[in-house]
Symmetry: C2
Subunit: 289 residues, 2 copies
């Protein structure tokens, strides 16, 4: 199954037979104070820097989140999208569950964007899915039901089934749905990762659907989070995860290495090209400091 996203001139294909797709997560003021301030000041230079840097480091798609208490998000998000479009040519992932902000972002976004996200709660299904349909976008579906995040893989599968079914009813095909099985923090529950991996395996078997996983939550509260995040992505990729909203600067090399090991990189071409490019970027960034 292929989920196709588009920018003005580029097409990105998410699929189990394709290289893993990295969706850059850094345009998000949560935990990035400098970006929050730039949005308050309507200064788009830092947004452009983040966009360009992530694409340089291998991001295929960029997530755009402007959630910040001091700004009018629906007014700001088109400015951010325009700034990003002015420096990079990649599909965008509009990240909000407020209908007004979502629509404003989607209207400004080029080609065929992705929506992050809808979950299985009645209220969200009823508001977000029609917006996705009207824009002809694809959407990330979180395996959350009306009672929160289910504890078992089977119940998460059921939450995904509900989203897929409700989307189908209004004409959104399963190809345009990417399911995020979620992962809790393994420091709090030692079964957190195995539940997620089992959920991915069930989703692939039942629906053959594309899977997104943001791995970094799994390591919350632990030291050396990189080792845990990198291992989690490798395990999730083996189980069938096809894209991740992630930091390409931190996890790009692990992701390209795992693609290589999973037989998705003939003659190591992508791996070697990525290594050479990031080696140069690392040197240039060190020199700039």
């Amino acid at each position: 199954m292929h989920t196709i996203l588009k920018s003005n001139s580029k097409e990105v294909v998410i699929g189990i037979d394709k290289p893993f797709i990295m969706i850059g997560e850094k345009i998000n003021p949560t935990g990035l104070k400098k970006l929050g301030q730039a949005l308050v000041d309507k200064d788009m230079e830092y947004v452009k820097y983040l966009a360009k840097r992530q694409v340089d480091w291998g991001a295929d798609v960029l997530d755009i989140n402007v959630g910040h208490p001091q700004i009018d998000e629906a007014a700001i998000i088109p400015m951010v999208v325009e700034a990003v479009k002015s420096v990079v040519d990649v599909p965008l992932c509009i990240d909000s569950n407020d209908p007004k902000i979502l629509e404003a972002g989607l209207n400004a976004a080029p080609g065929k964007p992705l929506v992050n996200s809808v979950n299985g709660e009645e209220k969200q299904l009823a508001t977000v899915l029609p917006i996705v349909k009207a824009r002809g976008a694809a959407v990330i579906g979180l395996t959350i039901g009306d009672d929160g995040i289910p504890a078992t893989p089977e119940l998460r599968l059921a939450a995904a089934a509900k989203i897929i079914e409700r989307a189908a009813k209004i004409g959104i095909p399963i190809e345009d749905i990417v399911i995020d099985p979620l992962v809790m923090t393994v420091g709090h529950d030692s079964n957190a990762a195995t539940i997620t991996i089992k959920t991915i395996e069930l989703l692939v078997k039942e629906f053959g659907v594309n899977i997104n996983l943001g791995a970094s939550n799994v390591s919350f509260g632990l030291p050396d989070r990189h080792s845990v995040n990198a291992a989690m992505l490798s395990l999730a990729m083996k189980a069938g995860t096809t894209c991740s909203i992630t930091d390409p600067i931190k996890l790009g090399s692990s992701i390209r290495a795992t693609d290589l090991l999973l037989g998705k990189d003939a003659n190591s071409m992508r791996y070697l090209k990525y290594f050479r490019a990031t080696e140069k970027l690392r040197a240039a960034e060190a020199a700039a400091k």
Copy 2:
């Protein structure tokens, strides 16, 4: 299935329901010139240093290989084993396929050692297995047949079956066999890792046997080998690998992270303990320089 190894006072259990076992690979003069010279000089201080350092960094078992052109290996290996025993109390893995060297090492080794290795060639089966049986040791069986390393998972499974069968005939139980499915370099063959992972899955399904994998060969010739080796171990562990002859200093944190994600580390106790211990070691080693 549990493979039990013993030192004088400690027992190490290899099994899918147990934490992953690290077999320290550094006592091997191949690629470690300083160790080769120390063996020529019969100077055991560097051997002791390598033994102690690896155990400090989490090695559960130590591999002992004295292969070097300028020495009488059968005379040296008992000295090396005694030196190691004088500083650490862990089971040993005697690494040779020369019967005389193997016997000399096994006689000096404490408790119940592991033998590295036998393969499926007639000549090796006939010479190595009786030595393993006589010593009451466990043995690593490489999936190599009389025609070399088989190209498919099914043929590697058949090579393992032959070793298991021949061992059973002389009274070595399957619990005392650890199969190594081997991995070729992924830079030469982009299916190298997937063949190995499939072999592991078949071995677990058919025999439920313990699996050893030395991951570092997979990344031969590639840059940033660490990313590839770490990802390979995570994938192999998920498939059912239970131990590795490896460098705990380089790969220990990835291995402990993967155990944590596979649900083998209640309350992250081992992960946290390992992080704190290696943080101290790293600081102490940096200070010593």
